[in-house]
Symmetry: D3
Subunit: 248 residues, 6 copies
């Protein structure tokens, strides 16, 4: 018997769907949904580098991200005001994507991954990372043949998922209802090879025990494995990481 | 033989498509495309009125709009910085939608129509109005039965289209390529009953003749009639304007 | 019998007066009044071009405008906060002045026309254009002899006037009282040769008919012809457009 | 033989002229010139008090000032950006005007004196105070008869003048040329009764001696006496300070 | 043999010193140093609650934090510009302190803990939490006797420490030199009772293994136990948590 | 019998203490207290000049200052918002320090003196100058030997003190209680050689007499002499002004 309001098992992800044909002028464009949470991730490539990289003789590339909630993503409507939370989230997305990119192999260009939340029902920051990686790969694949060696640019894949403690029990991939009543709210960013990029666990209200931390880490690892498999299936022939087969 | 780069006749609109099932938390949600230009219009209703209306004893309602370009809507990527152009456009969208709404019948509530440009290929401000009206109607129809009398709230329908003079010839519904080389850039906002809400004609570069003004007004009127018919077809049973049949 | 509160005929302008000796450090300086509306227009010339023009090898010139309301221009006092309306207006003034200037003949310099509203009684944006053109000409005439060929720099003259529909009747050059109760508010920017630079008609409240649009266009054209004659008289020997004689 | 570039004696003011009929919607409006420096001072009265005074049961009035340089006031053109200097100056103007006003007698209303510099040739802050006082008096005199008792509201008159040390000699009322090369730049704000409101002396570059301080205080006092006489003459029957006759 | 540049063992904290007599007007004031990192933590109490709590009939209290780097805290000098990093850090400090406070027992008052970095040598965010708790306790103890029941307001103590992976080895409490070359940068916030408030582990550059995560958690727990003992010793009779003896 | 609430004579300074070993990364660091007022002054040197000095072929140096109040410096807590007062004060501090520096001898480098108010009890701007000079000297002395010739860089010492009129009597070095009830608030900045850098006298409320101005100048001069002697004693062997011995 499920303890979750939507009938999921504690270790069950929400259904994931991805549309890579969404109208956009960006070379990487992904409309990704996990349950009701939907994000538009677009990846654009600019053939220049940030000012602070320009002084170098052979400047290497850069990957950055912006996170934004569209007003209709929540009810009541969300105002367009940028706040500290959005800044914090886009720093996380940028760090996560950069952790699997070799800037030297990328060469003197900047990839900007924009994550605009179309509908928010919990887990927008982690879905931005999972979808952002797909948009990043598609944008890089769309570069003229011979521009970069994608096998060298991408060192690994990256995905993210939330975990939490709800009503005393650790669960995977919280929606908004669970998030609102969670005692602990955690986010895990990991690579397809099973390495950690970011571990964040936050007590909402009261502090939590070591047991709850460990159980969340176990669930999160499970979720990332499934998300990685889905990313690979979605990207199909665009999946650039042949040598990862055995290590997953 | 067409003079237009995409083979359209001078008085031909781009193909229009509308998706009213787009993921969103807003009661009115429309993803509208005219050719490659695509806008996400969401309409949210707040059961309160702006501060400057609060002092009144029986405050009437209000309709406002916000216009925003998503970074992936153009290539190269558009920065998120709000500029004077966006402010000017959202004032036009708001005025246009307000021109067909009876604020007393609407009662003490505010409808905010958000127009986020997903892909920009010319005519984003006019498509925002055409799509914004559909989102507005859907949001009002979604109010609990008996909250408002929609026949009284909506006095007419409203739509908008651009015209211009390209290579010396007046044309309807310019895309970005035409817009970039147009000698005149005009926008027409009209109601389903054939009344004018806004007429804007701007010389891009050199001033234009009275003949070019008149020919554009004729083309624009034609375009609005077609857009109104499409709005009605799309809204189907949600179309609130029964008494408009004869006058269209 | 006049329908207007101040006794004017429907096609009658307010009395215009111009002071070109107003204290200022700018080479073009015009204190212009239409009835009670008074604007200080100053035109300054900077021997450089905007950053976005600098990359060109032979950068051409530029004309820009700023619009600002002084606090004492209205009662009650107007706060100095810049709003979207001001931004929209100064974009219109800039576009209008640029439409009669040849940037190549102007050479690598920027003319900034500042329009500071000293007293506001309706029609500030159109009077800014009419007065701004005079300040622009005076500033260009003040350049050292031989710097530019003014006959080539100025292609035409430009002026602007408002029209509207008040109590169901089209009228020319509305003051604040008329503006406040107008059903339609329009602005027409035209050149001395009778070409259109900008046509703007906005329904205030309810949409308007084609007849009202046409009647306003007729009145506006009439007003522009008179304003052009006045500009020419005021500028006297500074009027640079000899070849325009016949076409006016 | 004069040491000054414009032939003035060390203790000579620039010629002062005042226009109290300048177009404006403000009840107090003064275009004041000292030599080429010209300021538009308008005084507006709002029948309310600042938020921080509202909690009081019998809130007393307030006087505030804003200082702004119009772009055409200098050549090259001055950008509209507000800077720390402007903030500092408007605080000084406000303090100076408040020093001669009885807020209890003024009652719960706010007078805002706006000083917009039309032409800047040195001494704009002191001329703003001298002209601002005239605008303040005119605005108070324009209140409906019986609203306030002006004899009680105004305790004294106030005027200001600059002094400085140029080429080693103390001089009165510096213009821009003198200001630019002055070793010391001072401003004196005094009342008609000869009391001090503000004394400011600043070394430009190197520190100065006690002798130079004293000589400037003497010149400044002299200048204030003349400016007070001029204010009185200009205000004529509006001069509210009958009991000051003997003390001037 | 130590692997660390300053000779510390991998599980060794930097020397901690605390000055609670630092000049300040705030009731809680702590100058805390860990090695060269020095923070001024002041805690102020305001007898009101944030606006979003005011609507409640019996509003409960709130604890918030601000984090700021003084310009002299680094060489070269740090500009005063607030950036996203500072916002992120002050949100973490606020969350951490709130996790051990009972807002109902606190009553309708707001405690603001300001953390101004006087000298930055790594670990400023964690030291802000450790020192901020001491300032918070001192400020609460300084309330007039009987105002609150401190045993009920404070549920636990809280402290924080950084860990990382440097040259492939997990270490505790990194200074700036270690931080700059760390492969992983983690922060652990825990309570005196051994519960988790926040777990953050970030790959700097490349992702990290599960072994490195676990070793860091072990070191961090050790560090927190020592910091808690130091906080208790420092607070002496102000330490409010008698019942915690056995559980530590 | 003293007229002052803390028992001081009218011409008595508050006790001064200085700590030059305060933790900081800046080469000049001074924690200075006058009574309860305490300021952290740090001086940092950047080997570059401001943009507006860069065009020169042999750019000379610059000295600038920033003034900031830490939130815990007052009770109730002071918000971090920068206001016009802070801008005005930091301009004064910068001007004062620059008045005793030879920019050519300083060479192409910028000294920034940061004055962060740790505790505010009146006289923060003057104490910032007195302490800022000490930090400036220490920072310059810390430059590698031979970089500059300090005897040429520093032309004089500088210190500042407040005076005022309280209960009708002129007093020296007001604390907050006196400042709050003062009729006149003055600040005097003078050099060790007895020259004036800045004289500021402001009527708080009502204007003041020439007698009160003169008495304040006398007290201020006295205070500066004592502060200069203290600066010299504190700086000891770092005092760079040998030739000043006789003139002090």
């Amino acid at each position: 018997m499920s303890i979750r309001h939507d009938g999921r098992a504690a270790d069950e992800l929400r259904p994931l769907s991805v549309n890579r044909d969404f109208p956009s002028a960006a070379p990487g464009r992904v409309l990704i949904s996990a349950g009701d949470t939907t994000i538009l991730c677009t990846a654009s490539i600019d053939e220049s580098v940030p000012p602070w990289k320009m002084n170098s003789e052979n400047p290497t590339g850069w990957v950055t991200a912006e996170y934004n909630m569209l007003p209709g993503c929540t009810s009541p409507r969300k105002s367009r005001r940028v706040d500290g939370r959005a800044t914090e989230i886009q720093r996380l997305i940028g760090r996560s994507l950069r952790s699997v990119v070799d800037f030297e192999a990328l060469g003197p260009r900047t990839v900007t991954v924009d994550c605009d939340v179309v509908r928010a029902d919990g887990g927008t920051r982690t879905l931005s990372i999972t979808g952002g990686f797909i948009a990043l790969v598609d944008a890089l694949q769309a570069l003229p043949s011979g521009t970069i060696d994608l096998q060298r640019v991408l060192l690994d894949s990256v995905a993210a998922v939330s975990t939490g403690v709800v009503a005393g029990e650790a669960v995977l991939d919280l929606d908004y209802v669970e998030d609102s009543s969670a005692e602990v709210d955690s986010n895990l960013v990991m690579t397809g090879r099973g390495l950690f990029v970011e571990v964040q666990g936050t007590a909402e209200g009261r502090p939590f025990s070591a047991e709850h931390l460990n159980e969340q880490l176990r669930l999160g690892k499970l979720g990332i494995e499934r998300l990685t498999a889905l990313q690979r299936e979605i990207l199909g022939k665009n999946w650039p990481l042949d040598t990862m087969d055995s290590s997953c």
